[in-house]
């Protein structure tokens, strides 16, 4: 990490790396229209993915903890098991679901809800977000579920007994007590989605490349530029971190 940071101030000349102290890489990263577009898209995709994943993970964890109770542990094992099936396999699985002749399109057609396959389901930003959400959901369930294990049924009942309706119960009791887990889940979903470059390659379209793809390109093959890649990576990290901290602040304020 540190050597990467040092590298971001160097220069690349052909295939050679020249030690230097230049901000040129950072300048390029910030000023270039292409990089800016990609950065904005990356942050948006990451944020939307996290915004989809965290509430679903919260609902699932809630059900596992308070609806299924004992069986919740079993469901947790199944969730863990799904992680073992491998990253690439799961992306390809989403391709078969979202594809033009995929599961979703054929089902909708069979039901007569649509006549033509929905094109935007694959090779688009939506496809990237859906796939990333599917990939990251299990990772988000883990921390939230374990945080909810610390909330007792008595505490929930006490809140209702004292007059809290469902919304108030979630806002004043469940969310604050599960907050460490929600924070971790948001961090997982946001950071991993924003850092991914395999998913856009496989299910994304020409307009769905993320900054991760460009960064990866800087580190391999012809036209690679390690210092620029490192600078791009640090700009991305900085932006993502700022947004993450802002979201944590907002969450803390809402649930106080």
């Amino acid at each position: 990490m540190l050597s990467l940071f040092v590298l971001s101030f160097w220069r690349a000349k052909g295939f050679e790396l020249i030690p230097d102290f230049t901000l040129a890489n950072y300048e390029k990263a910030v000023v270039s229209k292409l990089y800016r577009t990609l950065l904005v898209r990356t942050v948006l995709v990451g944020f939307v993915t996290a915004a989809i994943v965290v509430p679903i993970a919260f609902a699932l964890s809630y059900a596992m903890r308070f609806v299924f109770e004992r069986r919740g542990q079993l469901i947790l094992q199944l969730v863990l098991l799904s992680l073992f099936s491998g990253y690439l396999v799961r992306i390809y699985a989403w391709r078969t679901i979202l594809g033009k002749q995929g599961l979703l399109n054929s089902t909708l057609q069979w039901l007569g809800l649509i006549n033509e396959p929905l094109e935007f389901l694959i090779y688009s930003n939506i496809a990237v977000v859906i796939t990333l959400s599917g990939l990251l959901l299990p990772l988000a369930v883990l921390p939230i579920y374990s945080a909810l294990l610390n909330v007792s049924r008595d505490q929930m009942e006490a809140a209702r007994d004292l007059g809290a309706g469902r919304v108030h119960l979630i806002r004043t009791i469940l969310l604050p007590l599960a907050m460490p887990g929600v924070r971790t889940a948001f961090a997982f979903a946001f950071l991993l989605a924003a850092g991914d470059f395999v998913t856009p390659t496989l299910v994304g379209g020409t307009q769905s490349l993320l900054i991760g793809n460009i960064i990866a390109d800087q580190f391999r093959g012809i036209g690679s530029n390690w210092p620029l890649g490192a600078a791009l990576a640090f700009v991305t990290i900085a932006i993502v971190l700022v947004i993450y901290l802002a979201v944590v602040q907002i969450l803390a304020r809402v649930t106080r």
Partner: protein, 361 residues
């Protein structure tokens, strides 16, 4: 009924094939302290949870001050519950815990401050408003739970064994405090416990439950002196049960044959000649005598098997011909000269025993 705080009418509750409550009727009056007393699994907590709104009865009705609340969720009932383990909110300090229901009611800051202060004073924790729940002792946590439940000024306060986790000394002290608080606030309390002493100390009336039914309701004295059946007399305090067959009923007096001795007792309705019945006598009503003759109808013969020193009294056990042990609580001087193996007469005053029907167990 105008002064009924809680009316439980024909409440039945089953969980799957298991029946937790069968046809329970109970009325709690305004300002009354009623305990639901029974062993674990008797349905007392289920009944309380039905009044609180956490369970809905399979059939039957619950009214609170005349209003039918049977199907109302807990957040919209005029009752509050003190949980067995407090269930304080760990992310809030004592003040915020107590203020929880008041903020929901959108009280003004000033009014909430005053109320929380009043509640803290009531449970004598004036200076602990800023503490977190983990910084409290067990007794303090239960006081905060009580304050939190009372702050919203519920019409009826429900308490689910709130002291069962405390040690004996603290429990005894809190029993008196709780009783004093109930009187001061002129509030209606329904208290669930498995501890008969606790129920006797605090309650205006006690409802004794067994296997999903209320088997007797009455004042502590009623229940102690005139238990309705063998279960109650056995459950409340120590008692001697002398089982036998009813020989005759004459002039309000029933005569029982117990191990070949005829014993007399005031009859109760429903007794018939030839029925199995039991005579219940508290140990403190039994005296040990070495006289030759047995007083007519109110004494049996036994051999002393045990002498136990209890501090304030001495408990003497004597075995009858059929192997039943009869216990007598004596003062020091009454027990003087008694020794294990002595053949003695166990006698009591004519009004001391109670006739109990049935011979269950």
């Amino acid at each position: 009924m105008t002064n009924a705080a809680v009316e439980i009418m024909g409440v039945r509750k089953s969980f799957g094939s298991m029946t937790a409550l069968e046809d329970v009727d109970l009325t709690v009056a305004d300002n009354e302290f009623v305990s639901l007393l029974g062993a674990s699994g008797c349905g007392k907590s289920t009944l309380l949870r039905i009044v609180a709104g956490f369970e809905y009865p399979t059939s039957g009705k619950v009214r609170v001050y005349g209003e039918d609340v049977t199907t109302r969720p807990p957040e919209r009932r005029p009752t509050n519950l003190v949980f067995q383990r407090g269930a304080l909110f760990p992310h809030m300090n004592v003040y915020d815990n107590i203020a929880y229901s008041l903020k929901l009611k959108k009280w003004s800051k000033k009014r909430i401050d005053d109320k929380v202060e009043e509640m803290l004073a009531l449970v004598r924790l004036e200076h602990l408003g800023g503490r977190g729940p983990t910084e409290l002792s067990g007794g303090q946590a239960q006081r905060v739970a009580l304050a939190r439940a009372l702050a919203g000024e519920p019409k009826v306060l429900l308490l689910d064994e709130p002291m069962s986790a405390l040690d004996l000394k603290l429990r005894q002290q809190m029993q008196l405090e709780l009783r004093a608080i109930q009187r001061r606030l002129e509030a209606t309390f329904v208290f669930v416990t498995h501890d008969q002493t606790e129920a006797l100390v605090m309650s205006d009336r006690i409802a004794i439950m067994n296997r999903g039914r209320i088997v007797q309701v009455g004042t502590p004295q009623d229940i102690y002196r005139r238990p309705a059946n063998v279960f109650v007399s056995d459950f409340i305090g120590q008692t001697n049960l002398l089982r036998g067959t009813v020989q005759s009923i004459q002039g309000g007096v029933a005569t029982l044959d117990v191990v070949g001795t005829r014993l007399t007792v005031a009859t109760v309705t429903g007794v018939s000649v030839g029925a199995r019945a039991a005579l219940s006598i508290r140990p403190e009503a039994v005296r040990v005598s070495r006289q030759e003759s047995l007083p007519e109808g109110r004494g049996v013969e036994g051999r002393i098997s045990e002498i136990i020193y209890l501090g304030s009294s001495i408990r003497v056990g004597a075995v009858l011909a059929d192997g039943t042990t009869v216990w007598a609580d004596l003062r020091d001087e009454e027990a003087e000269g008694l020794a294990v193996g002595d053949l003695v007469k166990l006698v009591w005053a004519p009004a001391a025993p109670t006739l109990l029907l049935g011979d269950n167990e």
